[in-house]
Amino acid sequence: MKHEHHHVCFIVPPHIFKHLTTSSNAAVREAAHHALEVSAAARGKRTAIGPFVGLLAASPGVKQRTVYDEKGGTKLPGKLVRKEGGKATSDVSVNEAYDYAGDTYDFYEAVFARNSVDNKGMRLDSSVHYNHKFNNAFWDGTQMVYGDGDGQIFTRFTACIDVIGHELTHGVTQFTSALDYQAQSGALNEHFSDVMGSLVKQWTLKQSAAQADWLIGKGLLAPGVKGVALRSMKAPGTAYNDPKTLGRDPQPADMSHYVNTNQDNGGVHINSGIPNKAFYNVASAIGGNAWEKAGKIWYTAFTNKLGHTAQFADAANATYEAAGELFGVGKAEQIAVGEGWKNVGINVSKQIISGSAMITVKAPPASQPPDSAYVPPTIKSQPRKSKG
């Protein structure tokens, strides 16, 4: 492991952001300012919806989707514009959020026999046109939220099926391993969302592991930005390199380049490059359609074998064990898992390999998300530092 350099921790390094906020291009400047104007309305919604989450559950085995239009606002969920079975609207973002959430539901059901994010048919709610020129998409613990992008660096976040699969998978994680959103467990949380987001895309395109691009957010970067996507599972750290806008893709591809940082919840979107590369290695070594074997191994491990504090080594052990259970101990699939992790600097434990230890299967958490009641914010003290 090594400590980060300051420039490593941001897609847009601080000096670049300052450049953006002082840009002569009014649109860029406004978007840079506006990116943070996320209303606390979302919190109000969480508080309001928390006790009633159970009401969101639909009948078992039935796909239920709703799409809301924020119209540039931030009070979630916004105005209901399309529900299950409703006709397509004239708004492409609404239709993408609806269609890709449907594809993600279908993927989980067809490949893993999973009924929605909670496996109990929970309705999939999406809000589009959140805020103005908002450069983000997120899962708020109950629903998906998408910004339109500023048009200068990012286009609309609904345009990529892998982004939607990624966000919904955060819901799956919330109802299964509940991986803590911090440091290695947080990077595993991000990693599992990238894996399933990519697999949803590959499944809908009927692409084999060899045919897939293994990119996350391809098509999300606005014209003129030097990059192909936000992340590359095949070659972490190579998705973009544009000094004028995003800087350089900061993802490491192996443990020797692990980034220690207190930003981004301990680099959850940075160090996810390491397990992402491991998954790519495994899927490529096994060959064929990635969702059929590598995907099942990962799904089994991440929904049944990991606790909320799991580290990278735990994920390696759990996937190795899952491969043995699904495809046979010592078979090619299990060997591929061991080699895939080894390639990124993580070794499956000798006890797991010899079969003398078993991964503890964690009981799934309660079917409802954790209590969303208000908790006082974090404070950390730090010694004075001279400002550079």
Partner: protein, 96 residues
């Protein structure tokens, strides 16, 4: 008084940073920021970490306030941040 705001995370992991030293501002602008800081009522003692439960890909904010006796950093995310902290964040990132 120096106030800096560091934003990180988000699906795209776009960072943002700005710092303001009120001693370098015109009195009127410094007063506005001092009022926002007082209104935010940042506590004296550290408190446990706070993140919105189950949420992912929301922005993380570190607000560092240095009143001359030492700096303290307060961390929150988009879904958990008190409204009055957000006013400070938006002011500093928007005008820093």
């Amino acid at each position: 008084m120096k106030i800096s705001v560091q934003r990180s995370g988000g699906f795209a992991n776009i960072g943002a940073h700005a710092e303001v030293d009120t001693s370098t501002l015109p009195k009127e602008k410094a007063d506005v920021l001092h009022r926002l800081i007082r209104s935010a009522a940042f506590p004296d003692q550290p408190a446990p970490p706070h993140r919105a439960a189950g949420a992912a890909d929301v922005y993380q904010y570190d607000i560092t306030v240095d009143d001359g006796t030492g700096s303290k950093t307060y961390r929150a995310d988009d879904l958990s941040m008190p409204e009055k902290w957000r006013a400070v964040v938006e002011h500093v990132l928007g005008h820093g």
